[in-house]
């Protein structure tokens, strides 16, 4: 789960990382009030869960309070990489001396936390990694020992920081590691981390991704989940316990098991089609779940055909077929549905389906054939 900049900063402050003073605003008027309260020049920053908002015009620095309302008006409602800006962070100014980069992430290969630090901040770290890899300092942490003082020294000396800056960065790092562990984040990133002319070290931006699997023990963070921003389709699927990702194509896809569904999407693409979604109905897909899943997929007005791909292993295929039949009876779907059933008791399942369903249901034996059929149907042919 990704947090907005202002949410991430709130968490970081709880762990002692200093940020600029900021106030969240959902209207131009609120933004002006915020700016007045803060005084002096402010930055008005779009709150979106995507990068590149600066280039998209989502950040405006306003020297005089009068300009804030107009700036906020321009930013609020803006579409940045498909996300509508619903609020802005109005943040006090600072006299920046240096911009640095600091992050801690879960390293999948090393299976431990990895700290990245660079004196070249404010730019994309991947660009730094490509252009001047030596400018990035890496430190791996043993999670059973935590961040050790010598590792902080290794980082600050490797980065050739001056003594005062080293001390400040070291303190931020200690706090950030506490935050990383305390919130069970998979990523905490401060870019830029700045030193100011008056000697402070501040987090000017924040990107925090927390581990969804840990939310059960972090109620305060779970509450930050932004239901408004989520796509209604995805939100409904989540409530139904489905693994669901909305895509931009016209072939709706359902299946059991994440790998199989990903593979089904690929098959549809190979057949020349475009998947409208990823939907994993899970192992024991009963009539109710299948019904809800079909319903959600059909909600998407772009969907022209549905591909339902089941490999019955432990769940027997005839049982899945029964669930599907019952779901189709409950629903009044006019979309063509291609069903591919394979695995344990597949024959019985297919037969049951043939006996019970209406003419908009097609059955295929292989995944590739099913994908072709669904694409054909979506493109208006094959009926």
């Amino acid at each position: 789960m990704d947090l907005y900049e202002y949410q991430g900063k709130e968490l970081l402050r709880e762990y002692g990382v200093e940020t600029l003073e900021g106030i969240i605003a959902t209207s131009p008027e609120e933004a002006r009030d915020a700016a007045e309260q803060l005084g002096g020049p402010v930055a008005v920053k779009a709150q979106v869960l995507t990068g590149g908002r600066g280039k998209a015009g989502g950040i405006k620095v306003v020297e005089e309070t009068e300009g804030v309302e107009e700036a906020a008006r321009q930013i609020l409602g803006m579409d940045i990489n498909g996300q509508k800006v619903q609020c802005v962070l109005v943040e006090a100014g600072a006299q920046i001396e240096n911009e640095m980069y600091l992050s801690i992430m879960v390293d999948r290969t090393a299976k431990k936390p990895l700290i990245l630090f660079s004196t070249e901040g404010g730019v994309d770290i991947e660009d730094v990694a490509e252009d001047s890899p030596d400018a990035i300092v890496k430190v791996y942490i043993n999670p059973l020992l935590g961040l050790l003082p010598y590792q902080v020294r290794e980082l600050t000396f490797s980065a050739r920081l001056e003594s005062d800056t080293a001390k400040g960065v070291g303190q931020v790092l200690d706090n950030l590691y506490e935050a990383f562990v305390g919130t069970e984040a998979s990523l905490v990133e401060i870019n830029p981390l700045v030193s100011t002319k008056d000697g402070r070290i501040l987090a000017l931006d924040s990107k925090v991704t927390v581990d969804d699997s840990s939310l059960f023990r972090h109620e305060n963070i779970a509450e930050l989940r932004d239901v408004e921003a989520a796509d209604p389709e995805e939100q409904r699927a989540q409530e139904a316990g489905l693994q669901y990702v909305k895509l931009s194509g016209d072939v709706g896809i359902l299946g059991n098991g994440a790998g199989l569904v990903m593979s089904t999407l690929d098959a549809v693409a190979q057949a020349g089609g475009e998947p409208a979604n990823f939907c994993d109905v899970g192992g024991g897909a009963d009539a109710e779940t299948i019904s809800e899943a079909l319903n959600i997929v059909a909600t998407n007005e772009h969907v022209k055909s549905v591909l339902f791909n089941i490999f019955g292993g432990i769940t027997r295929v005839d049982e899945v077929a029964r669930g599907l039949i019952s779901a189709l009876e409950q629903l009044d779907l006019h979309l063509p549905i291609v069903v591919r059933l394979e695995g344990t008791n597949a024959e019985e399942g297919r037969q049951k389906l043939a006996e019970n369903t209406s003419e908009n249901v097609y059955t295929e034996e292989t995944m590739l054939d099913a994908a072709k059929k669904a694409v054909q149907l979506a493109q208006g042919g094959g009926r």
Binding site: R108, E184, G259, L260, M262, D280, T344
Partner: protein
């Protein structure tokens, strides 16, 4: 032979009395697996399908001396169950549980020593057809043979197993290593085991988006492995930054995309299929080459 689990496997089921634990214990017993003990705190002294239940691993080890465990406990308790198994000297541990927190898994991974193998979490487990089923995989679709299968996925693996079986190509062992970002055992360790398994003549590796374990495996195959490998990667159509079902299946550019993985495997000289059925075709080719 086979790897990880076989006739010598004596299994303890951690969380035997939960819904999943009960269901799969029956299936593992049906497949002829030696399930010697189950654990559910507070139910010690009872039994399930003839398998004695203990309150703690300590008791189970003392009474039944298992060498392998399979874990069905809830996500919040999974790391504790793994530590309990490790501290009781269980040397092969399959954690089926989905949704184990990543920070828990980092702690587990840092504690793991070389003499123990953790498979998973969020995995289907390990199955050696005709020998032992320490998994939630449908043993009905397997037949014994000489193809090793290692995969980050569940049903996709069954799909491919089914394609193999329909072509009468049997399997030595199928290992689901799990779909999470942090798992106990990566492709390479399993490939190493298949490489030294005299029974395994070809390995199928099923990868997906997220991380770079497939690339590392590709390097290993290219540099160290004699046994031929056929690969398949899922997730070409996955959008960037979205978790595709498995917690670890997220393409965030760079090495984590299906394209990057597929290309790297091809570069490493590994036959890479574009569909599950092509996997089976390529395996059939490899085996006929090997046989000739």
């Amino acid at each position: 032979m086979a790897i990880l689990v076989d006739d010598d496997t004596s299994l303890v089921v951690q969380g035997i009395t939960g819904q999943q634990g009960r269901f799969h214990t029956e299936r593992m017993l049906e497949a002829g697996t030696h399930v010697v003990a189950g654990i559910t705190p507070g139910k010690g002294g009872q039994d399930y399908e003839g398998v004695p239940i203990f309150n703690t691993m300590e008791e189970a080890v003392k009474e039944t001396d298992p060498n392998t465990s399979v874990i069905f406990v809830p996500a919040a308790l999974a790391a504790d169950a793994i530590f309990e198994a490790l501290d009781s000297n269980i040397r092969i541990i399959c954690c089926i549980t989905e949704g184990v927190p990543v920070h828990d898994m980092m702690r587990v991974a840092s504690y793991l020593r070389e003499d123990a193998t953790l498979i998973g979490p969020n995995c289907p487990g390990v199955l050696s057809p005709g020998k032992a089923n320490v998994s939630i995989m449908p043993s009905e679709i397997f037949i014994p043979g000489n193809v090793g299968v290692v995969s980050r996925s569940g049903t996709l693996t069954y799909e491919i197993i089914d394609e193999l079986t329909q072509r009468d190509i049997g399997q030595s062992t199928a290992v689901g290593i799990g779909g999470d970002a942090i798992i106990g055992t990566d492709f390479i360790e399993i490939l190493k085991k298949f490489e030294v398994d005299p029974e395994t003549e070809c390995v199928v590796m099923i990868g997906e988006i997220g991380g770079n374990a497939e690339q590392l495996a590709g390097e290993y195959v290219q540099n160290e492995m004699q046994t031929p490998v056929v690969a398949y990667i899922a997730g070409f159509t996955a959008p960037e930054g979205k978790t595709m079902g498995h917690a670890g299946a997220i393409a965030s550019g760079g090495e984590s995309t299906a394209e990057a993985k597929s290309e790297a495997l091809e570069r490493a000289g590994i036959r890479t299929a574009t569909s599950p059925s092509e996997v089976a075709e390529l395996v059939a080719e490899v085996l006929s080459i090997t046989a000739s």
